[in-house]
């Protein structure tokens, strides 16, 4: 699936998106998997209270199942307007 990062999460991980092959069941599982990869992921996901998630462009909870998601996005709380 495609994984996207925005704002300071993008800056910490260093890339705006990447293709990820995973057998993670939930978003939280995917986060754990990414955290285990490299320090920059662990840093980006160190405070999950400040992380929001969308699956296929819909906001979901951290424990949402990935299902057959094509696109998962991680970003900070939104600050538009």
């Amino acid at each position: 699936m495609q994984v996207l990062y925005f704002a300071w999460i993008r800056e910490r991980i260093g890339i705006p998106k990447e293709q990820v092959e995973t057998s993670a069941v939930t978003v939280a599982d995917l986060v754990d998997e990414l955290r285990g990869r490299e320090e920059r992921y662990a840093l980006a996901f160190s405070d999950m209270a400040s992380v929001r998630v969308a699956i296929d462009q819909e906001l979901v909870d951290l424990d949402a199942p990935l299902g057959d998601a094509r696109e998962v996005a991680f970003f900070p709380p939104m600050t538009g307007g």
Binding site: A7, A73, P77, M78, G81
Partner: protein, 153 residues
């Protein structure tokens, strides 16, 4: 119902003219425009960078607009949000609502702004003399949503 995400500036007068063109049934139009302030707290701001999530942004704004239209008798709604680097004093966002009645127009515009602030995927980075920093979401913005989850009256 119109949603636009753009780097270009907008002109409120032109947008309202387009909204009202050829019709005489509108009684009230409310607009909200948000601008880049040169100060936030004690920090001076020279440039505000607006990042967004193309695709999801439009979907989220269209949903907010549709929700507003489901709650109030609106004749027209408009949301324009700019992205990219914006100087202090520049327009960021325009929301406009038209209705036969003023209270509906006011409430719908506030509703749209409240949800846009916390539910549409935009992020602000301020750059001033002290470097850049991402704007923190405010608890008050999240709390502002609560008033819309109870009944209208």
């Amino acid at each position: 119902m119109v949603v636009r995400v753009q780097t270009d500036d907008f002109d409120i007068g032109v947008e309202i003219s387009m909204m009202t063109a050829g019709r005489q049934d509108i009684g009230a139009i409310v607009t909200f425009s948000g601008l880049v302030r040169d100060m936030t707290g004690d920090q001076s701001v020279a440039v505000m960078e607006l990042e967004h999530y193309p695709g999801m942004t439009e979907k989220a704004l269209e949903k907010i607009e549709a929700d507003a239209n489901g709650r109030w008798p609106l004749q027209a709604t408009l949301i324009i949000h700019r992205v990219g680097p914006l100087n202090a004093g520049a327009n960021i966002v325009l929301v406009a609502t038209a209705s036969p009645h003023r209270q509906a127009a006011f409430e719908a515009a506030e509703f749209i702004m409240d949800f846009l602030k916390s539910r549409a995927p935009f992020w602000k980075k301020e750059s001033g003399v002290d470097g850049g920093n991402w704007v923190d979401a405010r608890d008050t913005d999240e709390e502002a949503l609560a008033r819309w989850t109870v009944s209208d009256d």
